[in-house]
Protein backbone atom coordinates (compact mmCIF):
# COMPACT_ATOMS: atom_id res chain seq x y z
CA UNK A 1 0.00 0.00 0.00
CA UNK A 2 1.33 3.34 -0.97
CA UNK A 3 0.78 6.34 1.25
CA UNK A 4 1.00 8.88 -1.59
CA UNK A 5 0.09 8.77 -5.27
CA UNK A 6 3.47 10.41 -5.88
CA UNK A 7 4.96 7.04 -5.38
CA UNK A 8 3.01 5.48 -8.23
CA UNK A 9 5.30 6.32 -11.08
CA UNK A 10 4.29 5.60 -14.63
CA UNK A 11 7.28 7.01 -16.47
CA UNK A 12 10.51 8.71 -15.57
CA UNK A 13 12.87 10.78 -17.76
CA UNK A 14 15.66 11.83 -15.52
CA UNK A 15 14.25 14.56 -13.30
CA UNK A 16 10.83 14.44 -14.95
CA UNK A 17 8.58 11.96 -13.26
CA UNK A 18 5.12 11.10 -14.53
CA UNK A 19 3.42 9.92 -11.39
CA UNK A 20 -0.24 9.23 -10.49
CA UNK A 21 -0.61 12.66 -8.88
CA UNK A 22 0.18 14.47 -12.08
CA UNK A 23 -1.78 12.07 -14.27
CA UNK A 24 -4.93 12.26 -12.17
CA UNK A 25 -4.55 16.03 -11.87
CA UNK A 26 -4.49 16.20 -15.64
CA UNK A 27 -7.51 13.95 -15.76
CA UNK A 28 -9.37 16.22 -13.37
CA UNK A 29 -8.26 19.28 -15.34
CA UNK A 30 -9.48 17.69 -18.56
CA UNK A 31 -12.74 16.65 -16.95
CA UNK A 32 -13.41 20.10 -15.53
CA UNK A 33 -12.36 21.99 -18.64
CA UNK A 34 -14.22 19.80 -21.12
CA UNK A 35 -17.27 19.64 -18.85
CA UNK A 36 -17.30 23.43 -18.50
CA UNK A 37 -16.74 23.92 -22.20
CA UNK A 38 -19.58 21.55 -23.14
CA UNK A 39 -21.99 23.32 -20.81
CA UNK A 40 -20.90 26.89 -21.42
CA UNK A 41 -20.51 26.76 -25.21
CA UNK A 42 -24.26 27.24 -25.60
CA UNK A 43 -25.30 29.29 -22.64
CA UNK A 44 -28.76 30.71 -22.63
CA UNK A 45 -29.35 34.29 -21.54
CA UNK A 46 -33.07 33.77 -21.49
CA UNK A 47 -35.08 32.89 -18.43
CA UNK A 48 -35.27 29.22 -19.47
CA UNK A 49 -31.90 27.54 -19.09
CA UNK A 50 -30.50 24.00 -19.29
CA UNK A 51 -30.10 21.84 -16.19
CA UNK A 52 -26.30 21.80 -16.39
CA UNK A 53 -26.11 25.54 -16.88
CA UNK A 54 -28.34 25.90 -13.87
CA UNK A 55 -26.05 23.70 -11.75
CA UNK A 56 -22.95 25.61 -12.84
CA UNK A 57 -24.66 28.95 -12.24
CA UNK A 58 -25.65 27.82 -8.75
CA UNK A 59 -22.10 26.67 -8.06
CA UNK A 60 -20.49 29.88 -9.35
CA UNK A 61 -22.96 32.22 -7.61
CA UNK A 62 -22.62 30.24 -4.39
CA UNK A 63 -18.81 30.54 -4.46
CA UNK A 64 -19.15 34.22 -5.31
CA UNK A 65 -21.57 34.63 -2.41
CA UNK A 66 -19.10 33.00 -0.02
CA UNK A 67 -16.29 35.23 -1.23
CA UNK A 68 -18.49 38.29 -0.87
CA UNK A 69 -19.54 37.27 2.65
CA UNK A 70 -15.92 36.93 3.75
CA UNK A 71 -14.29 39.81 1.90
CA UNK A 72 -17.26 42.24 2.01
CA UNK A 73 -16.41 43.14 -1.57
CA UNK A 74 -18.63 43.06 -4.62
CA UNK A 75 -15.92 41.82 -6.98
CA UNK A 76 -15.15 38.86 -9.23
CA UNK A 77 -11.39 39.30 -8.77
CA UNK A 78 -10.94 36.40 -6.31
CA UNK A 79 -13.48 34.08 -7.90
CA UNK A 80 -11.20 32.22 -10.37
CA UNK A 81 -8.51 31.53 -7.77
CA UNK A 82 -10.64 30.62 -4.77
CA UNK A 83 -13.31 28.96 -6.91
CA UNK A 84 -10.79 26.81 -8.70
CA UNK A 85 -9.24 25.78 -5.38
CA UNK A 86 -12.62 24.66 -4.13
CA UNK A 87 -13.73 22.93 -7.32
CA UNK A 88 -10.39 21.20 -7.87
CA UNK A 89 -10.14 19.89 -4.31
CA UNK A 90 -13.81 18.94 -4.15
CA UNK A 91 -13.77 17.06 -7.48
CA UNK A 92 -10.46 15.51 -6.62
CA UNK A 93 -11.88 14.25 -3.33
CA UNK A 94 -15.28 13.20 -4.66
CA UNK A 95 -13.78 11.09 -7.43
CA UNK A 96 -12.38 8.72 -4.81
CA UNK A 97 -15.52 6.64 -5.39
CA UNK A 98 -14.08 5.74 -8.78
CA UNK A 99 -12.09 2.45 -8.62
CA UNK A 100 -8.30 2.70 -9.00
CA UNK A 101 -8.52 6.40 -8.68
CA UNK A 102 -5.92 8.17 -6.56
CA UNK A 103 -6.90 11.59 -5.28
CA UNK A 104 -4.12 14.08 -6.09
CA UNK A 105 -5.04 15.89 -2.87
CA UNK A 106 -3.88 12.81 -1.02
CA UNK A 107 -0.37 13.76 -2.09
CA UNK A 108 1.52 16.18 0.10
CA UNK A 109 3.16 17.54 -3.04
CA UNK A 110 -0.21 18.65 -4.38
CA UNK A 111 -1.38 20.21 -1.12
CA UNK A 112 1.97 21.93 -0.72
CA UNK A 113 1.70 23.18 -4.27
CA UNK A 114 -1.75 24.58 -3.54
CA UNK A 115 -0.56 26.09 -0.25
CA UNK A 116 2.36 27.69 -2.06
CA UNK A 117 -0.07 29.16 -4.53
CA UNK A 118 -2.10 30.57 -1.62
CA UNK A 119 1.12 31.74 0.04
CA UNK A 120 2.00 33.83 -3.00
CA UNK A 121 -1.51 34.78 -4.00
CA UNK A 122 -2.35 36.29 -0.62
CA UNK A 123 0.27 39.08 -0.71
CA UNK A 124 -0.36 39.49 -4.43
CA UNK A 125 -4.03 40.29 -3.87
CA UNK A 126 -3.10 42.46 -0.88
CA UNK A 127 -0.70 44.45 -3.02
CA UNK A 128 -3.22 44.67 -5.85
CA UNK A 129 -5.73 46.08 -3.44
CA UNK A 130 -3.72 48.61 -1.45
CA UNK A 131 -0.30 48.87 -3.02
CA UNK A 132 3.08 47.39 -2.11
CA UNK A 133 3.91 49.80 0.68
CA UNK A 134 0.61 49.51 2.37
CA UNK A 135 0.78 45.70 2.27
CA UNK A 136 4.22 45.37 3.78
CA UNK A 137 3.38 47.93 6.39
CA UNK A 138 0.76 45.49 7.69
CA UNK A 139 3.65 43.17 8.77
CA UNK A 140 4.96 45.71 11.27
CA UNK A 141 1.60 46.35 12.82
CA UNK A 142 0.83 47.03 15.56
CA UNK A 143 4.59 47.38 16.26
CA UNK A 144 7.80 46.64 14.44
CA UNK A 145 8.50 43.78 16.85
CA UNK A 146 5.57 41.88 15.43
CA UNK A 147 7.37 41.44 12.10
CA UNK A 148 8.95 38.02 12.85
CA UNK A 149 5.72 36.75 14.32
CA UNK A 150 3.76 37.90 11.35
CA UNK A 151 6.21 36.19 8.99
CA UNK A 152 6.17 33.00 11.05
CA UNK A 153 2.36 33.16 11.13
CA UNK A 154 2.26 33.54 7.36
CA UNK A 155 4.47 30.51 6.79
CA UNK A 156 2.93 28.35 9.47
CA UNK A 157 -0.60 28.89 8.27
CA UNK A 158 0.49 27.92 4.76
CA UNK A 159 2.09 24.82 6.15
CA UNK A 160 -1.03 24.07 8.20
CA UNK A 161 -3.15 24.52 5.12
CA UNK A 162 -1.09 21.99 3.21
CA UNK A 163 -0.80 19.46 5.95
CA UNK A 164 -4.45 19.67 6.99
CA UNK A 165 -5.72 18.82 3.56
CA UNK A 166 -3.11 16.17 2.95
CA UNK A 167 -3.69 14.60 6.37
CA UNK A 168 -7.42 14.43 6.01
CA UNK A 169 -7.46 12.96 2.54
CA UNK A 170 -4.55 10.67 3.09
CA UNK A 171 -6.02 9.47 6.39
CA UNK A 172 -9.38 8.84 4.70
CA UNK A 173 -7.69 6.54 2.15
CA UNK A 174 -5.55 4.99 4.85
CA UNK A 175 -8.50 4.23 7.08
CA UNK A 176 -10.37 2.73 4.16
CA UNK A 177 -7.33 0.61 3.35
CA UNK A 178 -6.79 -0.52 6.93
CA UNK A 179 -10.49 -1.29 7.46
CA UNK A 180 -10.53 -3.15 4.18
CA UNK A 181 -7.94 -5.52 5.58
CA UNK A 182 -9.71 -5.89 8.96
CA UNK A 183 -13.43 -5.88 8.11
CA UNK A 184 -13.55 -6.10 4.35
CA UNK A 185 -17.28 -5.97 3.75
CA UNK A 186 -19.19 -3.25 5.52
CA UNK A 187 -17.01 -0.63 7.22
CA UNK A 188 -14.91 0.45 4.27
CA UNK A 189 -18.09 1.46 2.42
CA UNK A 190 -19.23 3.65 5.33
CA UNK A 191 -15.80 5.11 5.68
CA UNK A 192 -15.73 5.78 1.96
CA UNK A 193 -19.02 7.64 2.30
CA UNK A 194 -17.61 9.59 5.21
CA UNK A 195 -14.59 10.24 3.06
CA UNK A 196 -16.81 11.97 0.50
CA UNK A 197 -18.22 14.28 3.16
CA UNK A 198 -14.77 14.89 4.60
CA UNK A 199 -13.46 15.62 1.12
CA UNK A 200 -16.16 18.23 0.48
CA UNK A 201 -15.68 19.77 3.90
CA UNK A 202 -11.95 19.94 3.34
CA UNK A 203 -12.40 21.59 0.00
CA UNK A 204 -14.70 24.14 1.62
CA UNK A 205 -12.28 24.70 4.52
CA UNK A 206 -9.33 25.13 2.18
CA UNK A 207 -11.17 27.63 -0.01
CA UNK A 208 -12.67 29.56 2.88
CA UNK A 209 -9.35 29.77 4.73
CA UNK A 210 -7.69 31.00 1.56
CA UNK A 211 -10.34 33.66 1.24
CA UNK A 212 -9.90 34.59 4.89
CA UNK A 213 -6.15 35.03 4.33
CA UNK A 214 -6.76 37.13 1.26
CA UNK A 215 -9.38 39.14 3.12
CA UNK A 216 -6.96 39.78 5.98
CA UNK A 217 -4.36 40.87 3.44
CA UNK A 218 -6.71 43.36 1.83
CA UNK A 219 -8.03 44.38 5.24
CA UNK A 220 -5.08 46.74 5.90
CA UNK A 221 -6.00 48.82 2.92
CA UNK A 222 -9.63 48.60 3.86
CA UNK A 223 -8.95 50.00 7.32
CA UNK A 224 -7.01 52.88 5.82
CA UNK A 225 -9.86 53.70 3.47
CA UNK A 226 -12.33 53.66 6.37
CA UNK A 227 -10.04 55.92 8.39
CA UNK A 228 -9.76 58.35 5.49
CA UNK A 229 -13.51 58.35 5.12
CA UNK A 230 -13.91 59.10 8.85
CA UNK A 231 -11.54 62.06 8.55
Amino acid sequence: MKISPDLIIFRQWGLFTLNATIVFTWAIMAFLTIGSWIVTRKLSTKTKISRWQNILEILVTWIHGQIKAISHRETYRYLPFVGTLFIFIAVSNLLTVVPWYQAPTGSLSTTVALAVCVFFATPLFGIMEGGLKEYFRSYIKPTFFMLPFNIIGEISRTLALAVRLFGNIMSGSMIAGILLSITPLFFPVIMQAFGLITGLVQAYIFAVLTMVYIASAIQAHNKKVTKDAEH
Binding site: S4, D6, L15, F16, T17, N19, T21, I22, T25, W26, I28, M29, L32, T33, S36, W37, T40, L43, S44, T45, K46, T47, Q53, L56, E57, V60, T61, Y76, L79, P80, F81, G83, T84, I87, F88, P104, S107, L108, S109, T110, V112, A113, L114, V116, C117
Partner: protein, 257 residues
Amino acid sequence: MIDWFTVCAQIVNFLILVFLLKRFLYGPIIKAIDKREEKISARIQEVEQKRLAAEEEKNMYLKKNEDFELQRAEMHARMKEDTESQKKQLLEKSRQEIEDIKTRWSESIMQERDVFLRDLRKRVIDQVYAITRQALADLAASDIEQHIVNLFLKKIKEVNGANGEKITQALRDSATGITIATSFELPEEQRDSILQAVRELAAENKDVTFIVSKDILCGIELREKDYVIGWNLENYLTSLEKDFDKAIKADSGRIKR
Protein backbone atom coordinates in the same frame (compact mmCIF):
# COMPACT_ATOMS: atom_id res chain seq x y z
CA MET B 1 7.40 12.68 1.20
CA ILE B 2 7.46 15.85 -0.83
CA ASP B 3 8.44 15.43 -4.42
CA TRP B 4 9.50 18.92 -5.41
CA PHE B 5 9.16 18.20 -9.09
CA THR B 6 5.55 17.20 -8.48
CA VAL B 7 5.03 20.31 -6.39
CA CYS B 8 6.23 22.49 -9.25
CA ALA B 9 4.19 20.52 -11.76
CA GLN B 10 1.12 20.82 -9.57
CA ILE B 11 1.63 24.56 -9.18
CA VAL B 12 1.79 24.89 -12.93
CA ASN B 13 -1.17 22.56 -13.32
CA PHE B 14 -3.18 24.53 -10.83
CA LEU B 15 -2.41 27.83 -12.49
CA ILE B 16 -3.33 26.36 -15.87
CA LEU B 17 -6.56 25.06 -14.36
CA VAL B 18 -7.30 28.53 -12.93
CA PHE B 19 -6.82 29.99 -16.38
CA LEU B 20 -8.90 27.28 -18.10
CA LEU B 21 -11.77 27.55 -15.66
CA LYS B 22 -11.69 31.31 -15.89
CA ARG B 23 -11.86 30.98 -19.64
CA PHE B 24 -14.47 28.21 -19.87
CA LEU B 25 -16.44 28.40 -16.64
CA TYR B 26 -16.47 31.63 -14.65
CA GLY B 27 -16.22 34.01 -17.57
CA PRO B 28 -19.11 32.62 -19.66
CA ILE B 29 -21.28 31.89 -16.63
CA ILE B 30 -20.85 35.38 -15.16
CA LYS B 31 -21.38 36.91 -18.55
CA ALA B 32 -24.58 34.90 -19.03
CA ILE B 33 -25.83 35.81 -15.56
CA ASP B 34 -25.04 39.47 -16.13
CA LYS B 35 -26.73 39.41 -19.51
CA ARG B 36 -29.79 37.73 -18.09
CA GLU B 37 -29.91 40.18 -15.20
CA GLU B 38 -29.57 42.99 -17.68
CA LYS B 39 -32.41 41.53 -19.72
CA ILE B 40 -34.55 41.06 -16.65
CA SER B 41 -33.83 44.57 -15.43
CA ALA B 42 -34.54 45.87 -18.94
CA ARG B 43 -37.77 43.94 -18.94
CA ILE B 44 -38.64 45.25 -15.48
CA GLN B 45 -37.84 48.73 -16.69
CA GLU B 46 -39.96 48.14 -19.77
CA VAL B 47 -42.78 46.85 -17.61
CA GLU B 48 -42.38 49.86 -15.35
CA GLN B 49 -42.49 52.13 -18.37
CA LYS B 50 -45.53 50.33 -19.67
CA ARG B 51 -47.10 50.57 -16.25
CA LEU B 52 -46.39 54.29 -16.18
CA ALA B 53 -47.78 54.64 -19.68
CA ALA B 54 -50.84 52.66 -18.68
CA GLU B 55 -51.18 54.80 -15.57
CA GLU B 56 -50.91 57.89 -17.70
CA GLU B 57 -53.44 56.53 -20.14
CA LYS B 58 -55.73 55.61 -17.29
CA ASN B 59 -55.43 59.12 -15.89
CA MET B 60 -56.08 60.53 -19.33
CA TYR B 61 -59.21 58.46 -19.71
CA LEU B 62 -60.32 59.35 -16.21
CA LYS B 63 -59.87 63.00 -17.05
CA LYS B 64 -61.70 62.49 -20.33
CA ASN B 65 -64.50 60.82 -18.44
CA GLU B 66 -64.58 63.67 -15.98
CA ASP B 67 -64.60 66.19 -18.79
CA PHE B 68 -67.31 64.25 -20.53
CA GLU B 69 -69.36 64.16 -17.34
CA LEU B 70 -68.83 67.87 -16.89
CA GLN B 71 -69.74 68.56 -20.49
CA ARG B 72 -72.80 66.38 -20.18
CA ALA B 73 -73.90 68.21 -17.05
CA GLU B 74 -73.26 71.51 -18.77
CA MET B 75 -75.22 70.43 -21.84
CA HIS B 76 -77.98 69.15 -19.66
CA ALA B 77 -78.16 72.46 -17.82
CA ARG B 78 -78.05 74.39 -21.08
CA MET B 79 -80.73 72.18 -22.58
CA LYS B 80 -82.89 72.67 -19.50
CA GLU B 81 -82.37 76.40 -19.75
CA ASP B 82 -83.19 76.37 -23.45
CA THR B 83 -86.30 74.32 -22.85
CA GLU B 84 -87.33 76.66 -20.07
CA SER B 85 -86.82 79.71 -22.23
CA GLN B 86 -88.54 78.06 -25.18
CA LYS B 87 -91.42 77.12 -22.91
CA LYS B 88 -91.61 80.70 -21.70
CA GLN B 89 -91.50 81.96 -25.26
CA LEU B 90 -94.21 79.57 -26.37
CA LEU B 91 -96.32 80.50 -23.37
CA GLU B 92 -95.78 84.17 -24.11
CA LYS B 93 -96.64 83.57 -27.76
CA SER B 94 -99.77 81.64 -26.83
CA ARG B 95 -100.74 84.36 -24.39
CA GLN B 96 -100.16 86.94 -27.08
CA GLU B 97 -102.16 84.93 -29.58
CA ILE B 98 -104.98 84.55 -27.08
CA GLU B 99 -104.78 88.26 -26.42
CA ASP B 100 -104.88 88.93 -30.16
CA ILE B 101 -107.82 86.59 -30.63
CA LYS B 102 -109.54 88.27 -27.73
CA THR B 103 -108.87 91.70 -29.20
CA ARG B 104 -110.03 90.57 -32.61
CA TRP B 105 -113.08 88.98 -31.07
CA SER B 106 -113.79 92.10 -29.09
CA GLU B 107 -113.29 94.22 -32.19
CA SER B 108 -115.59 91.97 -34.17
CA ILE B 109 -118.17 92.24 -31.38
CA MET B 110 -117.83 95.99 -31.49
CA GLN B 111 -118.22 95.94 -35.25
CA GLU B 112 -121.21 93.67 -34.98
CA ARG B 113 -122.62 95.97 -32.38
CA ASP B 114 -122.14 98.96 -34.66
CA VAL B 115 -123.73 97.13 -37.56
CA PHE B 116 -126.53 96.04 -35.31
CA LEU B 117 -127.05 99.55 -34.03
CA ARG B 118 -127.06 100.98 -37.55
CA ASP B 119 -129.48 98.36 -38.62
CA LEU B 120 -131.60 98.89 -35.56
CA ARG B 121 -131.60 102.57 -36.06
CA LYS B 122 -132.76 102.23 -39.63
CA ARG B 123 -135.42 99.77 -38.72
CA VAL B 124 -136.55 101.78 -35.74
CA ILE B 125 -136.77 104.89 -37.88
CA ASP B 126 -138.68 103.07 -40.55
CA GLN B 127 -140.90 101.54 -37.99
CA VAL B 128 -141.42 104.74 -35.98
CA TYR B 129 -142.02 106.62 -39.13
CA ALA B 130 -144.56 104.14 -40.34
CA ILE B 131 -146.27 103.92 -36.95
CA THR B 132 -146.35 107.68 -36.51
CA ARG B 133 -147.64 108.18 -40.01
CA GLN B 134 -150.31 105.56 -39.49
CA ALA B 135 -151.23 106.90 -36.04
CA LEU B 136 -151.46 110.48 -37.24
CA ALA B 137 -153.46 109.45 -40.32
CA ASP B 138 -155.80 107.43 -38.19
CA LEU B 139 -156.19 110.05 -35.49
CA ALA B 140 -156.39 113.35 -37.37
CA ALA B 141 -156.49 112.35 -40.94
CA SER B 142 -153.25 114.25 -41.50
CA ASP B 143 -149.86 113.09 -42.70
CA ILE B 144 -146.63 113.11 -40.79
CA GLU B 145 -144.88 115.42 -43.28
CA GLN B 146 -147.46 118.09 -42.52
CA HIS B 147 -146.83 117.70 -38.80
CA ILE B 148 -143.11 117.93 -39.31
CA VAL B 149 -143.52 121.07 -41.38
CA ASN B 150 -145.84 122.53 -38.73
CA LEU B 151 -143.30 121.73 -36.03
CA PHE B 152 -140.61 123.39 -38.15
CA LEU B 153 -142.67 126.48 -38.74
CA LYS B 154 -143.35 126.64 -35.02
CA LYS B 155 -139.65 126.42 -34.32
CA ILE B 156 -138.91 129.24 -36.78
CA LYS B 157 -141.47 131.40 -35.19
CA GLU B 158 -140.05 130.67 -31.77
CA VAL B 159 -136.64 132.04 -32.78
CA ASN B 160 -136.30 135.20 -30.67
CA GLY B 161 -134.40 136.69 -27.76
CA ALA B 162 -130.66 137.25 -27.80
CA ASN B 163 -130.00 133.99 -29.52
CA GLY B 164 -132.83 134.67 -31.96
CA GLU B 165 -131.32 138.01 -32.81
CA LYS B 166 -128.03 136.47 -33.66
CA ILE B 167 -129.66 133.85 -35.87
CA THR B 168 -131.83 136.36 -37.61
CA GLN B 169 -128.77 138.56 -38.25
CA ALA B 170 -126.82 135.65 -39.57
CA LEU B 171 -129.62 134.68 -41.90
CA ARG B 172 -129.93 138.21 -43.19
CA ASP B 173 -126.17 138.55 -43.78
CA SER B 174 -125.80 135.14 -45.32
CA ALA B 175 -124.11 135.37 -48.70
CA THR B 176 -124.51 131.75 -49.63
CA GLY B 177 -128.23 131.72 -49.23
CA ILE B 178 -130.57 129.60 -47.14
CA THR B 179 -131.17 125.90 -47.76
CA ILE B 180 -134.19 124.01 -46.58
CA ALA B 181 -133.30 120.31 -46.45
CA THR B 182 -135.93 117.68 -45.96
CA SER B 183 -135.98 113.92 -45.85
CA PHE B 184 -139.02 113.89 -48.16
CA GLU B 185 -140.30 115.85 -51.16
CA LEU B 186 -142.25 118.94 -50.03
CA PRO B 187 -145.56 119.77 -51.74
CA GLU B 188 -145.87 123.22 -53.22
CA GLU B 189 -148.24 124.40 -50.52
CA GLN B 190 -145.88 123.52 -47.72
CA ARG B 191 -143.01 125.07 -49.58
CA ASP B 192 -144.84 128.34 -49.79
CA SER B 193 -145.67 128.43 -46.12
CA ILE B 194 -142.07 127.62 -45.24
CA LEU B 195 -140.80 130.26 -47.70
CA GLN B 196 -143.08 132.76 -46.13
CA ALA B 197 -142.00 131.94 -42.63
CA VAL B 198 -138.34 132.10 -43.53
CA ARG B 199 -138.68 135.38 -45.34
CA GLU B 200 -140.46 136.81 -42.36
CA LEU B 201 -137.55 135.84 -40.21
CA ALA B 202 -134.71 136.86 -42.52
CA ALA B 203 -135.46 139.08 -45.52
CA GLU B 204 -138.04 139.33 -48.21
CA ASN B 205 -135.82 138.72 -51.15
CA LYS B 206 -133.57 136.09 -49.68
CA ASP B 207 -132.87 133.04 -51.86
CA VAL B 208 -134.20 129.88 -50.41
CA THR B 209 -133.31 126.52 -51.94
CA PHE B 210 -135.28 123.35 -51.22
CA ILE B 211 -133.39 120.05 -51.33
CA VAL B 212 -134.13 116.47 -50.38
CA SER B 213 -131.22 115.22 -48.31
CA LYS B 214 -130.49 111.63 -47.42
CA ASP B 215 -128.50 112.85 -44.43
CA ILE B 216 -131.72 113.62 -42.65
CA LEU B 217 -133.50 110.50 -41.57
CA CYS B 218 -136.86 112.02 -40.94
CA GLY B 219 -137.25 115.77 -40.53
CA ILE B 220 -136.61 119.19 -41.91
CA GLU B 221 -133.74 121.61 -41.44
CA LEU B 222 -132.96 125.23 -42.23
CA ARG B 223 -129.27 125.35 -43.04
CA GLU B 224 -127.16 128.42 -43.02
CA LYS B 225 -123.35 128.57 -42.91
CA ASP B 226 -123.19 128.81 -39.12
CA TYR B 227 -126.66 127.81 -37.90
CA VAL B 228 -129.06 124.96 -38.37
CA ILE B 229 -132.72 125.18 -37.26
CA GLY B 230 -135.05 122.24 -37.58
CA TRP B 231 -136.59 119.12 -36.23
CA ASN B 232 -135.25 115.70 -36.82
CA LEU B 233 -136.27 112.28 -35.66
CA GLU B 234 -132.56 111.52 -35.51
CA ASN B 235 -132.28 113.37 -32.20
CA TYR B 236 -134.59 110.84 -30.56
CA LEU B 237 -132.81 108.02 -32.26
CA THR B 238 -129.42 109.23 -31.05
CA SER B 239 -130.73 109.20 -27.54
CA LEU B 240 -132.11 105.66 -28.07
CA GLU B 241 -128.82 104.63 -29.59
CA LYS B 242 -126.94 105.92 -26.60
CA ASP B 243 -129.12 103.85 -24.31
CA PHE B 244 -128.56 100.73 -26.41
CA ASP B 245 -124.86 101.40 -26.57
CA LYS B 246 -124.68 101.68 -22.82
CA ALA B 247 -126.55 98.40 -22.40
CA ILE B 248 -124.31 96.56 -24.92
CA LYS B 249 -121.17 97.92 -23.34
CA ALA B 250 -122.32 96.67 -19.99
CA ASP B 251 -122.94 93.23 -21.55
CA SER B 252 -119.57 93.08 -23.35
CA GLY B 253 -117.87 94.13 -20.11
CA ARG B 254 -119.45 91.16 -18.45
CA ILE B 255 -118.21 88.89 -21.30
CA LYS B 256 -114.66 90.25 -20.98
CA ARG B 257 -114.65 89.45 -17.32
